[in-house]
Symmetry: C2
Subunit: 207 residues, 2 copies
Amino acid sequence: MPSDQHGDVRRLVLDAAIKIIETMGADSLSMREVARQAGVSHQAPYHYFKDRSGIFAAISEEGFALLADAFRRVEHMEENGSKGGFITYLTFARQHSGHFRVMFRGDICGISTHEATGAAADDAFNELLKMVSRTIGTSTDTDEAMTFAIMLWSQAHGLATLVLDGPLERKLPPDADLESQIMNVINLASHMVSLEVAEMGLLPSQN
Amino acid sequence: MPSDQHGDVRRLVLDAAIKIIETMGADSLSMREVARQAGVSHQAPYHYFKDRSGIFAAISEEGFALLADAFRRVEHMEENGSKGGFITYLTFARQHSGHFRVMFRGDICGISTHEATGAAADDAFNELLKMVSRTIGTSTDTDEAMTFAIMLWSQAHGLATLVLDGPLERKLPPDADLESQIMNVINLASHMVSLEVAEMGLLPSQN
DNA sequence: GGAAAGGGCTAGACAATGTCAAGTATGAAT
DNA sequence: ATTCATACTTGACATTGTCTAGCCCTTTCC
């Protein structure tokens, strides 16, 4: 009955799902509630998504595509070295927390079961590799690039997870400013990268 | 009818829940399935846990206690510097993946809503702070210790998350050995810590 | 000894959920 | 005009979380 314009039900369903995940967590996402928020019958989503995990997989795929885009834009940021990468990752996680929370949950979205999602994840990782290679001054297919990429991904991902899921605020002294503490951590991490790169005798590209 | 020995239903329920989370993910944990696996009626768990999230909170609390214990044991490990900490964190995440997956999910367990869980998390973080202070050679209440602690926690947590939730295996070249790649990352990360500590002119305790 | 009380559990009921199966409308193609 | 697929809606069913009520022990008090 309230079919809005026409045909964009898939988008309506996805947006409703993302909003629910952002505000109430992935567990609270119910097929029927999503349909209700999208203003369609409780079965309409099944026309676009195989089942509940199909929605998660689609959100995850979209998230990896957004992340890859963000990585691509780092090249033209003003921040040098790894700092720009850290800030980009953290910004992505906070601005798209709905996507982010789903992307690394193999139990619900199935990066390995859902083909398109896996491909999007691979694409994002390739962009990360390129970015890291620029930062440390190697080509993308070296062992150094791979190890650095995983290390930096871990670092950024861990920070984003801790910030998003909130155990950080609790630990800080009450007068501490969360944002400046985050920047302290990012500055420390990217400084360490510079030191390591220098010691390895690598030559980061200056852009 | 199958009341096992007697009285330890709480433990049975927790263990069943942990096993379900490990094998099928936190979403698949249903109150009734847990009760079934524990061999009790579908209402028995409610005697020990307020509701579904009460089970998650209890698992999370136990997880933080286990993690704090692990941190305490690092002092007597053979690995020096931060490497022992990384290995400990990763080992914990893999050996107690059921706990680990729940501990950092504010949406389902409520580190902020469940008092005991929050206290356990605080305790674990304090142990981390002590460990980090030993590694970088400061007292626990300095800004350096706090920033290093968050940075190292992020690094270890990110790596554990990526390893556990599997997007890592997919990225590696097929002939690469996951375990040795993980050790590469840990070695790189702890080497960077050594460099940074040296440059800061800090004096790590030698134990 | 017997009654009372409470802990530790079971049983029943209800609304809500995921999903299968079947129906209906709407547009294009023949 | 009839067929036929697309894009839904409606109905049904087993399963879930959780409320309420009950049952069986043990302990305690008189």
